[in-house]
């Protein structure tokens, strides 16, 4: 049980987030209405995605330095789970945009660029499926992963800041970020970040355990 405390923490935090997310008092701004509460569910998906892709790139680099197949298993699992959360973030974002921005797929730079970034990571997953040899697959996809991460950061952090974006807070600088979100919302937002990230790590460990079992003849 001592090893699983963080899973319990994830569940408790998410229960708090779902209850408080619908009941906490939030400022009503413009056409958003109550849909600003999406902050507690849509944004953490992206935090999960970034966490997973960071784990993935670190393990890809470790693979390239030591050629240890276990690192490749971790990197590919993290990339898969990260893409999954990216798709969830994109899907929730399109639904939200439909009723606040007046269109499902708008010309918002952040929406467009994340779509491209997710497609790049889907290309990574398809690339992995197309190579049968384990070592060759690990090596080529690790190199591709470095490119994918190098594109992810400019696409989702830099370009949306340089042009006008419909995303709130996108046009301001990170230095004023503490002024962008209302104080009461932060009491739910930060637990939401931690809770959802722990959930994504949980899912990620399940996938890693599965893949290690699948390749146990090689790791033996």
């Amino acid at each position: 049980m001592a090893r699983h405390w963080w899973k319990a923490l994830a569940i408790l935090l998410l229960i708090y987030v779902i209850i408080a997310g619908f009941t906490v008092k939030i400022p009503i701004i413009g056409t958003n209405g109550q849909s600003s509460r999406g902050l507690f569910f849509h944004v953490p998906m992206w935090i999960c995605m970034y966490t997973m892709f960071t784990i993935s790139i670190v393990n890809s680099l470790l693979y390239l330095s030591k050629y240890d197949l276990k690192k490749d298993v971790i990197a590919s699992s993290a990339a898969g789970v990260g893409t999954f959360f990216g798709v969830l973030g994109f899907a929730t974002g399109t639904l939200w945009a439909t009723y606040t921005w007046g269109g499902t797929l708008t010309d918002d730079p952040k929406q467009m660029c994340t779509a491209i970034a997710i497609l790049i990571y889907m290309a990574y997953l398809v690339l992995r499926m197309s190579i049968h040899d384990l070592d060759k697959r690990a090596r080529i996809s690790a190199v591709f992963n470095v490119f994918a991460f190098a594109l992810l950061i400019p696409l989702t952090y830099i370009i949306p800041r340089m042009v006008d974006s419909l995303h709130p807070g996108s046009a301001s600088t990170p230095g004023f970020a503490s002024k962008d979100t209302d104080g009461t919302m932060k009491t739910v937002l930060y637990p939401a970040f931690i809770g959802w990230t722990l959930l994504s790590v949980w899912i990620f460990t399940l996938v890693v355990r599965y893949k290690k079992l699948q390749l146990k003849n090689i790791f033996k």
Binding site: Q34, R37, H42, M45, T100, T104, M129, L213
Partner: protein, 79 residues
């Protein structure tokens, strides 16, 4: 293996087509679905967001369930 990659690409293409098809309609339209999502200060948008996340996690679990089932099958046949 090829089959898997193909079905993956196909589902991706279908997802993109459905998103693009939706993008054509400007959302000032009436209709029961739009009225429902706009009612009660748009709170049902967030309910929809949570439902999407839940469906996503459930689909992920079903996929993992099937994969583990196949692995168990393999272990049973050649232990």
């Amino acid at each position: 293996m090829i089959n898997k990659a193909f079905s993956f690409c196909l589902s991706l293409a279908l997802l993109l087509i459905s998103v693009l098809a939706n993008a054509q309609q400007q959302n000032t339209e009436k209709g029961p679905v739009n009225e429902f999502f706009r009612s009660n200060d748009k709170i049902y948008v967030i309910v929809g967001v949570l439902v999407i996340i839940f469906i996503g996690i459930v689909l992920f679990m079903i996929r993992l369930d099937r994969k583990i089932g196949k692995l168990e099958e393999r272990e049973k046949n050649n232990p």
